[in-house]
Symmetry: C2
């Protein structure tokens, strides 16, 4: 005799996978401000971007079509791991003694262990379609570099990854993973670009930075044959490709006869957050009551404390000016373990929605986030990425609130990636070696001053 079983995992059959991405540009009450040419202060044209990105992706970047077909070949690759399950965290609900129902999408089940391959596969495809043979990119902790290596491997493109030197030395596993997928991953600054050579001449032991690695990757792309550059976050087409997460979740909730009251994701550049959130923001714009929360580190509180303005996407000022919340392109966040959340800005689409109060943001300190991550591992079993622990901190907070209010809220969050290759942060936390890192007000003032030099959106 068995008692009725509580299903925890809800699958979507592959036949039911969404066939189109959702483009929120079609529905925003205030349209996105255009990226500006920093020299002229005028909106950039598609041609300005042509040396860097293939024209089909540039067109997608600017599209205001609501639904964009997912090409069959992209779908075929996504089906290697998608749809990801929608899972209910009964054990955590019980542990927190909350009336809230806690659901999550598990993006850690992709081959690279995070949501990043959703766009890597699509970008590799569009580049191949455009006749491109080789992609370059930068990577910090290595998540994006490995995702693009995978995407290129599946579509037969060459891939060159400039990895921030200090990470290259500290994270040998990520480098091996890229190599296994056939990519060429080298430490940045390198001797392979003029920019890298110049940096190394001045400082042969330079540890590198994401800004430097971007500069090298772009220089390589625009000076090499049949080569383009690829970016793993921030841009509109990246957000677009990630919406498959939320679209699947919508279908899964429909099958369950439920709908989230609260949708939560962590925010660095913004892509995993956009991926789970935008399909629900669409309904919110249409009048549905749903709360959408971005969780960021208090060490890098872009949406919660930075000004909204035009700023460069990278330290080296090689991108157009983008309209976004930004701590300033020269901002160097404290060295927290959630490397993926240490970006100075937030995607223009996410920023505009925050400006329009369609999404809200909260920041969390790292002791609180790691505590949530450890609890999760011991209660739910799986190990989440340090980035994801920020979403967890918000989930814990909402679950507690539901308990206080006695409300049976439905919470959905994005488990953006597993943490099996990021265990050193957990160890430092368990050793009591971490402390809270909050940003002093002076830093925010500096950001405001820097941003005020550029045009107002």
């Amino acid at each position: 005799m068995s008692k009725p079983m509580q299903e925890q995992k809800f699958y979507l059959s592959q036949k039911e996978i969404p066939r189109q991405w959702y483009n929120i540009q079609a529905d925003m009450p205030n349209p996105l401000k255009p990226p500006l040419n920093p020299k002229t202060g005028k909106p950039i044209s598609p041609d300005d971007l042509a040396p860097v990105f293939p024209m089909n992706l540039i067109e997608q970047e600017a599209s205001t079509e609501r639904w964009i077909d997912i090409p069959e070949e992209v779908l075929e690759k996504l089906l290697l791991w998608r749809p990801t399950p929608l899972q209910r965290a009964y054990a955590l609900e019980k542990f927190l003694n909350t009336p809230a129902k806690i659901y999550f999408k598990d993006e850690g089940t992709s081959p690279a262990g995070s949501h990043k391959p959703n766009t890597a596969v699509a970008q590799a495809y569009y580049n191949r379609e455009f006749g491109i043979k080789r992609l370059t990119t930068e990577t910090g902790a290595g998540q994006w570099g490995s995702a693009l290596s995978l995407g290129c491997s599946l579509f037969g493109l060459e891939c060159k990854v400039y990895m921030v030197r200090v990470s290259f030395q500290q994270k040998p596993y990520r480098k091996m993973l890229m190599r296994l997928w056939g990519a060429n991953c080298i430490p940045s600054p390198s001797e392979e670009t003029n920019f890298g050579k110049k940096v190394l001449q001045e400082d042969p032991d330079c540890p590198g930075s994401l800004g430097m690695a971007i500069s090298e990757a772009i220089e390589d792309a625009v000076t090499s044959e049949n080569t383009r550059y690829s970016l793993g976050s921030v841009l509109n087409h990246v957000m677009l490709h990630q919406t498959i997460i939320g679209l699947e979740a919508e279908k899964q909730f429909k099958a369950l006869g439920d709908y989230p009251d609260v949708v939560i994701g962590c925010v660095g550049g913004g892509s995993n957050f956009a991926g789970i959130a935008f399909p629900f923001v669409k309904e919110k714009i249409a009048g549905k009551e749903v709360q959408v929360i971005g969780a960021e580190p208090s060490a890098c509180p872009t949406l919660t404390r930075a000004p909204f303005g035009y700023d460069f996407g990278d330290t080296a000022q090689s991108t157009p000016l983008l309209p976004m919340y930004s701590l300033g392109h020269s901002f160097m966040p404290p060295g927290i373990h959630a490397g993926g959340l240490r970006y100075h800005g937030a995607a223009p689409l996410v920023s505009q929605l925050a400006e329009d109060k369609l999404i809200e943001a909260r920041n969390y300190d790292q002791l609180q986030t790691y505590q949530a991550g450890v609890t999760w591992a011991r209660v739910q079993g799986s190990v989440v990425a340090p980035e994801t622990t920020h979403a967890l901190a918000a989930v814990f907070e909402e679950a507690k609130k539901a308990k206080e209010e006695g409300k049976e809220k439905t919470i959905l969050f994005n488990l953006s990636g597993h943490g099996l290759m990021d265990l050193t942060g957990y160890e430092a936390y368990l050793d009591g070696k971490l402390s809270d890192v909050s940003l002093p007000e002076e830093e925010i003032e500096k950001s405001k001053q820097l941003i005020s030099k550029y045009p107002k959106p």
Copy 2:
């Protein structure tokens, strides 16, 4: 307009998860020979094992009931990640240009990344039911230690893991993972047991071995209060708990209207192989035509080249004598990267079925297996454990044969675990630093001589 989609992943809803494990002891044409007391040469009694294992597991070990109910609480934990999907490797089929249909069960989707938690969770439950508060075990590469840490965490037991010192130093990530799940993992030999102290007195720099770690874990269990020992492979109840893999696959094939012609798993101690294979061996015993293949390393060719006889399960001779294929309990396999396949014996159940020709075995050299693993990663996207690459080598062989014979064979293999924490082996392979390691005939002769000292099964 989209062309009809090829589904690659076949889910089983959680409601359809098997509610019973399959015990092959009920159906074996020749029953298992009993384990012997090495001192008396007579079959051991349950009481002999009582200081080491809880009585409910000892009873399960000896049971000949065909179906054994999975307790509800165990099921609830298994549902954190089970059923695992049955997946079809279309991309690999295309790459190999084979008419064979290649399916796999993905056990890498468990929180610890392998099949091991299937039994860890069950063993933690049965121990807790018996009033045990604390489990001890040994671990080499760390897969089993982390799985048991997870199991204990989910059932609120303390867990002590003796990890072979050289692995403890070389694999810090595994150690961190165990700690994250609340376990106490220490290097063996340690100062915490009499055996460990003795070893360290003679050799303070002793790198440790699995045999030593077993001895320490057993000594700790039998001398501590409310403590028992837990083993991750070899024993009958471990094989039993793993059969959920094959039972799920059976249901998934039924839903597909297909059935495998060939079932493949890699073999170390034998548990992941037993898990996928036994439900199909059941049908084979009943007359169905299905080929069942165990794939092992040529560096440790237990089923393919070792004698069948009674031998100790561990180097330190602390276990009963078990009837099995064995290279000898003092055998030290060459240092290949597939640490989980370096066991000198094979589970008695697997051994008896091999002896009765119900399963067959093949061995593969490590260049061939790593080549298969690299191809898999680049074509199918995911990174498999070094152990799993042995199953892949057999799959490649069978797919090639199907091509030569022009047969549309259905192949099923067990993807026993992911390799995200085992990338150093891949790197060594890509660097050209690996070579084939085949066992010379003299080694086999030594095994035969050693085994011949013990009773004949």
